[in-house]
Each structure stands twice: as C-alpha cells, then as structure tokens.
C-alpha cells in the first residue's frame, strides 16, 4: 500500500514526487509511457518565463513568479542547465507599443520588477539580428531557458534516491475507492493500492479524474504547438528570447535560444480533439516562418534539423486547477497545467504540499533527505585533467559515438545504467543527446543500438525505438529459419 500515488511522470508529477520524498511515507509515481517526461514536458519552448504575462491574481501569475525564483536553487540541487538569456517582447508600431505598456502594468501587478523598455536600436545593439522594423522592446532579464525533460528525469532520480518509486508502462485505466484507500488498475489488470492520489496526467487529467469523480469541474482541450529546431551552428544568431506582443491566441511564435546552442522557432496554437496525436501540419509550419520573420531578419531556415509538436493541457477553468477534490477524499487535482507550467513547476510542487497535502495528512520531514543529484559527466565539456582521470577509469570515454554532439560510449552506457536510465534509442537521445545533432542519428543510431544490446544483453531485434514493441530492426536476415 502506498501513501501517495502520482499519476503522470511529466515535469509536474516528478517534481511533486521529489517534494514528497522529503517526508516519511511510501510514494509511487506511475506513467503510461515507456519513459518519463514524454508529453508536454518533451515538447515545449523550454522557457522559464519571468511571470509578467499571466492575469494578475491568478495561480498562474503567483506560481510562475515563484517558480522562476525557485529555479536557481533547483538547478543547483539537481545539476540541470539554465541559460540566462533574458527576453525581449518586441513592438513594431504604436498599437503594439501600447500592448507593451499594458504588459508593464501586468508585470508590476505580478511583482515582476526587473524590466526595462528599450528602443529598437538599443535592443539591436545587444542582438543585431532583431528585425529592423522593431521600434521598442520590453526587456525581461529574469527570463531564462532550461532543458525540460532533464528536470523530470533529474527530479525522479533524486526522488528515487530519497525512497520514492516509479513504474513505467502503467496506464491507469480504472480507479476504485474503498472506505480506506484507492485501487488503481492498469491496461493489463494489474492492481495497486494507495491512500491518496495526485492527478498530474497532463492532457488526460480530466479523464483520469472522471474515473473517480462524477462532476469534474474542468475539461481539457489540447492546444497544439508546432516548432522548428535549428542546428547548433546557429548559436549566437540571437541572444535573447524574442516574443511578439501577446494576442488572444497566446504568446505567439517565438525565437528561443536553447541551452545546447540550438534555436527553437514556434509554437503555433491550434485546438484539437486528440489527446496525444501530435503530428506536424504544413499550414502550421508555414505560419511559423511567417510569424518568425517579424522577429528577426535573415533567419537561417536551411539549418532546420527537425520539426516537432506538443500539446498544452488547456482547460475550461482558465487557470491552473490545483485543488483537493471537493467530493472524493484524498484525491488531488493538478490539472490544466498549460503554459507557464514548466516555469511554475517547482512552485506547483511546493504548493501541492503546503496547501493541499499538509492540511489533510500528517507529513513528517525525513531526517536524511538529500536534495542533491549529480548529473552524469559530459566528457567533452570537462577540463583536461578531469578528462584524463576519467579516461584512466574507462577508456570508452575516448570512443566518440555521436560525432555531432561529441558523445562517447562511456556516457551512453552511463545513461543506460543509471537510476531513471533508459534502454531505448530515443531514451538515450533524450539523456545523452546522441542523435540530437545535424545528422539526427544517421551516424550513431546503429552504434547506440549495439551498445544498448551489449549492456542489457538482449538481442538487437528486441531493442525498442521508444515505446514498448517498437524495435528498429524487424528481423535478422542471415539466420536460417
């Protein structure tokens, strides 16, 4: 019997698991996928917003501002990257400049006091490729960028070290409430029992809630955002995140420098019914180019190496819906976490403990909670001495598997073996970045496959691309049947 079960292993669920692992009690996180950090957490703009944008007085405003501040400590504790880019919201004409002034009022109301209104030329001095037609920009220096799914992985890894557990490929299909606890059931009829449930199921949160609650107060309609990724050769093309002025469709198409040197262009914003079908659409991709051209001049579209799309869990509630169920005891909603959910995530996790769980459960702090998680070595970024030392321990640091991102065999083995590791091709890509570069795995995929097969001692035809039963290799040709 678990004390708390979290449904959903995105950035929200995993950070809640980590916060809960500060306290006594048995904590379990389940996710229906074959890896953590798979849905919205894998497909977003990676921005830690300043918190200037949400409507004052909302949970979004409060938690975004708090979350932004919490990231500095979180990044230290979990050893995750933060790129302090700052952001410019750009205005081309008087009408847009008026919007900037409204945004300043909002920023003040949200206690975001670090901002400045600059004229176009000043902004262009700092960032020369910003579009010539831009007249004014609102500078928001506290805006930064992170690597979203690494947060989810690092948070879960740290939660594991502090006693929490997780299960993948566990899709909650039914929830039954008894007098004392809940019984969860998955796609194979496997049951789990738990005293309390925290629903962090992203675009599925309302459906999960309906499994126990008869009148769920919100419904979720996924809002798709599509992107281009530019290769890291583009590094330095822009230094700040560029936002257009917001419209009724949201924050609009942005240019976002990434922690590894790439630039993201996107996202678009279109509602759809499907909860997890995230295809790219020619019309969206066209729109990205059109909108992005208003932000910067001479965007090198020939450096596009990938497209992707993500779904925001937009709810009818018009704010994050973070509440204890009004009708089902010990069932907690952390729902409608669309943008700025990544920004707010560390604050959401605290809020869930302080405002939802503390009042209802006796939470006792562990005496030996260790907040620190060390990230695996990224060999090529180390100084010569550390490289030398590591090489002595393991010569496989010298075998470069992914030429584009300079990732060695030893690093890949490390990412397969460590807690929260993965033995799928895409799982390795998410963790080690092998296959994230210019050739998108053309060079290294077969080598990564070999390494997984050797480490896990399983046949190559049983190594999955990502989900269960998605092997890259269908059959061996040289064996006689």
């Amino acid at each position: 019997m678990y004390d708390f079960t979290i449904i959903g292993g995105g950035v929200i669920g995993t950070l809640i698991a980590r916060e809960l692992s500060r306290y006594e009690g048995k904590v379990l996180l389940v996710d229906k996928e074959n890896d953590l950090g798979n849905h919205a957490t894998l497909a977003n703009s990676a921005i830690i917003h300043s918190g200037h944008d949400p409507k004052p007085g909302t949970l979004k405003a409060k938690l975004a501002v708090e979350g932004n501040a919490l990231y500095d400590q979180l990044a230290k504790d979990l050893d995750i990257p933060l790129l302090r880019t700052g952001a410019y919201v750009v205005a081309h004409d008087d009408e847009e400049i008026n919007v900037l002034n409204d945004l300043i009022d909002r920023a003040k109301a949200n206690s975001v006091n670090d901002y400045a209104l600059l004229d176009g030329d000043t902004a262009r001095k700092a960032d020369p490729n910003i579009s010539k037609t831009i007249k004014k920009v609102l500078s928001l220096p506290s805006t930064k960028v992170t690597y979203p799914w690494e947060i989810a992985l690092a948070a879960m890894e740290n939660a594991l070290a502090n006693g929490a557990e997780y299960r993948l490929n566990y899709e909650v299909k039914a929830i039954t409430q008894t007098a004392t606890h809940f019984i969860l059931e998955n796609q194979n009829g496997e049951k789990l029992t738990t005293h309390a449930i925290i629903n962090a199921a992203g675009t599925f949160a309302d459906l999960v809630a309906k499994m126990v609650e008869s009148n769920v107060e919100y419904t979720i309609t996924p809002r798709r955002g599509e992107y281009f990724v530019l290769d890291k050769q583009v590094k330095g093309f822009i230094k700040h995140i560029l936002y257009p002025v917001p419209s009724n469709k949201g924050k609009g198409v942005l240019l976002v420098p990434q922690v590894h040197g790439n630039i993201l262009l996107g996202p678009t914003s279109n509602f759809q019914d499907a909860r997890e079908t995230v295809g790219n659409h020619a019309s969206d991709l066209e729109q990205i180019r059109e909108d992005a051209n208003r932000l910067a001049d001479g965007i090198p579209y020939d450096l596009i190496i990938r497209t992707f799309a993500g779904l925001r869990a937009t709810s009818t509630h018009d704010d994050f819906y973070i509440q204890a169920s009004k009708t089902v005891k010990n069932f907690y909603h952390v729902a409608g976490i669309d943008s700025p959910g990544l920004t707010a995530a560390p604050a959401i996790a605290r809020y869930v403990i302080d405002h939802l769980l503390q009042p209802k459960h006796t939470l006792t702090k562990k005496t030996h909670f260790n907040p620190i998680r060390k990230k695996p070595s990224v060999f090529h970024t180390l100084d010569k001495q550390s490289q030398h030392d590591l090489m002595k321990q393991n010569p496989l640091y010298g075998h470069i598997v992914c030429k584009c991102e300079r990732i060695s065999e030893a690093e890949i083995i490390d990412h397969i073996n460590r807690p929260c590791g993965s033995s799928t091709i895409k799982g390795v890509k998410k963790r080690a970045r092998a296959g994230s570069g210019l050739c998108q795995g053309g060079y290294c995929e077969s080598d990564v496959l070999r390494i997984i097969s050797e480490v896990k001692k399983i046949d190559k035809t049983r190594i999955d691309y990502y989900a269960l039963n998605t092997p890259i290799l269908r059959e061996e040709t040289k064996v006689k049947k």
Binding site: G279, L285, R306, I400, G442, T470
Partner: protein, 419 residues
C-alpha cells in the same frame, strides 16, 4: 608535427593518401571506423569502377584495391579515431582527435586533406508533415543495417526521393522479401542515375511516382501509413490526388550533404549550392593548407570521380608542403550561369600553373543534347556538345591557364539545351 593529415579513409581519403605519400614526408590518415573503405563497405551492389578500372566491381571490391595499395605503401593510419575539430594557430593546424587508447588529444600538422564524406538529409530537414513514429529513416541507414549488420528494418516499404541510395535500397529490400510499394519523387524527373531507375525499379515493377511527395504520416508509436500527393509546378500538393499506403517503413533518399562538421570553428564559407566548402583548382579552401575532396566537398554519384578528384587533391597537398604556394589576393572566379547548377572549383589560383584544370559541374535541367560553353567575357574558352545531360549526373570539362585572356575577369559556364 605532421606534414599532411588525411581525415577519412573512404574512397577519397585513400586516393588522396596514395598520391600524397612520399618517403620524405610525414603523413597520416585518420579513420573513425574499424575498417577502411568508408561508404563503399555497405554498397554491396556492383557498378563501381567502370571509369577507373574499366570493370564493374562491388563497393567493397573497389575499396579493397585501394586499401591493398595503401597497406603496401605502409602509410601510417590511426583507426577508430574520430576527429572532432580543426583549428589553426600560427600557421599550424591543431586537429582535435579522440580514441579509446589516448582519449582526447591534439595532432599538429602543416596541412590537411579533409575527406570525411557526406551525411544523409533527414526528415526534419525537409519538414515532412504528420506524426513522428519509428519506421522513418534515411535509406543509407537502412542499407547499413541490412548490408553490414544483417538486419531488415521493415516488411512493407515506401521510398521518398529517387536518389541513388533510395533506388538501390528499393531493390535490395525487395530481394530480401520486403514488399516495396513505390518510390515518390517531388521533381518531375528522377534524381538518380538512369541505370538505377531501370535496374532497380523497372526490372522489379516498383512504381515511380514523379511530381509526388509525402503529405501525411500516421502512427503513434510505429509507422502505420503514409499519404502521397501529386504536386503542382510550385511543389504545392494538389487536393484530390492523395494515395494512401499502409507501410511500416518509409525510407528517405532526399539528398546527401557534405559532412564538414569538423570545420565548424574555421572561417570557411560554404558553397550555397553544394553545401560544402568552396575551393580553387588545387582543392584548397580559403584557409591555406586545408584541402577538401570527395563527398565532403560535393556529393558525387560515381566513386570513380571521387577517386580522380581526390588523387588531385592529394597531389596538391604534397606540392603545398614541398613548395608552398600562396593564395592569390584575387583568384579568378568561375561562375555557374544559364542552366548550370554549380561548378567545382569555384575559383582558379593563377599562381599555380599546371597542364590541366579539371572542372566538375551539374546542370539544372535535362537535355538530350546540350551545348556547354566556358567563356571569359566575350571570349569563348571552350564549347562542347554533351549528350544526355541531367541534374543527377555530374559532368566534367578541362582547360588550361593558357586558354584564358587575362587573370582577372571571371570565367562563366553555361549550357544551352539543343534538344
């Protein structure tokens, strides 16, 4: 300090090394893989060597002849060593290398011949719409899995793009028992060699859909189906022309791009058409002492041409270390005009005199007979009629410095379609 370091042990690197070799010089070849031969090792079909050996060899057989000669000369080579980056400080190249024995280390050299081959354009680069399941991969990757490792990646296959690797793989997968449902090409003509269309598609009844592209991809985890549509003259899909195919594999043969990743921190301009470096007739880039050849320079359809070109690059690298030639302040430009896609080299260094200057070029349109003219202003240097020209086939011509009227006006290459 090395005199010449050759990066890459494929057809290009081997030919360059063989020519650059001289007992008085300290040269070395560096190769990432366990075996020399490069991409040839996975090209087990035949059709290699018709120009160089006047024989039809398989890729590995072709490679073997050079590997043998390379070992006979006892040319030093570092295997299973990846070059990560090249820098130049005080006229010396610093080559960052990595392998299992020595970890990360630096090789110093006076000159470099880069012959690192090419990589395949991916789905992201052509921005295919639809979902992103497993089952979509570059044709060369599938070729590697099949021919080197002995695994079939799928059973029901469609190929997008009529590049040579795609055509070869359509046949290869069919021979291994896969169901190959067709090849779609967005252009109104094929991008592969004519002989490959005939021998790989026609002979196996695999349909070729010209002016078609993939407009949708379905499958959450595994590829389930693709939709192709006909495109109009602006490459926009035509509504109503959709055809759906249930497949587990979509192979992409949508272009190869010179792999010059190791030059990332060098001040080198990439050619807008070839996406490789720009060089003069000595295969020297804008950086003195840095030579590039083979698919790392521009993508070749025939290995024979890689061999010829790389031999010359090797000879020039040797000449460079023995009697350094300077880069001229203003080289003579060679421009691709009417119906010419690009010309390689893109400039001439007039201070290096030699008997023959070799140019490779591609046309932008098909011509049963085309008249190709090399001129300098109004002065016609050379004009020749060429039969069966197509964008997919690389053409060649030669001239000498003596043919020029001066050493400053740009040279132009044009093609007129006669028939």
């Amino acid at each position: 300090m090395k005199d010449i370091v050759i990066i890459g042990g494929g057809a290009g690197g081997l030919a360059a090394a063989l020519e650059a070799f001289d007992p008085s010089l300290d040269i070395m070849l560096v190769e990432r893989e366990k075996h020399l031969g490069g991409i040839l090792n996975q090209c087990i079909h035949n059709g290699f060597g018709l120009h160089v050996f006047d024989e039809e060899l398989t890729g590995p057989e072709y490679a073997e002849r050079f590997i043998q000669a390379f070992h006979d000369k006892k040319i030093p080579c570092l295997m299973e060593t990846t070059i990560l980056e090249i820098r130049k400080e005080n006229d010396v190249f610093l080559i960052e290398a990595s392998n299992k024995q020595d970890g990360l280390f630096t090789i110093k050299s006076k000159s470099i011949v880069l012959s690192s081959g090419c990589y395949e354009r991916t789905r992201g680069q052509i921005q295919l719409p639809g979902e992103r399941p497993k089952g979509i991969m570059p044709a060369g990757s599938a070729q590697r899995y099949l021919n080197i490792e002995g695994y079939l990646v799928g059973k029901d296959v469609f190929v997008l793009g009529s590049g040579d690797i795609g055509l070869i793989m359509a046949r290869r997968m069919k021979l291994e028992g896969a169901n190959v449902l067709g090849v779609a090409e967005i252009m109104p003509y094929s991008n592969g060699l004519t002989r490959n269309i005939v021998q790989c598609l026609d002979d196996y009844d695999i349909p070729l859909y010209l002016s078609h592209t993939v407009t949708d991809i379905v499958g959450k985890d595994c590829l389930e189906s693709i939709t192709i549509s006909e495109v109009d003259a602006d490459f926009k899909p035509i509504k109503g022309s959709e055809k759906q195919f249930d497949v587990d594999t979509l192979l992409l043969s949508v272009g190869l791009i010179p792999d010059t990743m190791v030059l990332e921190s060098m001040p080198i301009a990439l050619h807008p058409k070839t996406k490789g470096p720009t060089v003069d007739q000595t295969y020297q880039t804008s950086v003195e002492g840095l030579f590039v050849c083979g698919n790392a320079l521009h993508v070749h359809d025939l290995v024979d041409y890689v061999t010829d070109e790389s031999k010359r690059a090797g000879q020039f690298a040797k000449l460079f270390v023995q009697k350094p030639f300077k880069k001229p302040p203003s080289p003579i430009a060679i421009e691709a005009n009417q119906n010419i896609h690009y010309v390689m080299p893109s400039s001439i260094n007039p201070s290096v005199d030699l008997d023959t200057i070799h140019c490779a070029y591609r046309v932008t349109t098909k011509a049963e007979v085309g008249e190709v003219t090399l001129a300098q202003g109004d002065h016609i240097i050379k004009t020749q009629k060429v039969r069966f020209m197509a964008p997919a086939e690389m053409e060649h011509l030669t001239f000498t410095l003596n043919d020029l009227i001066n050493h400053k006006d740009p040279i132009t290459l044009t093609m007129e379609v006669i028939k």
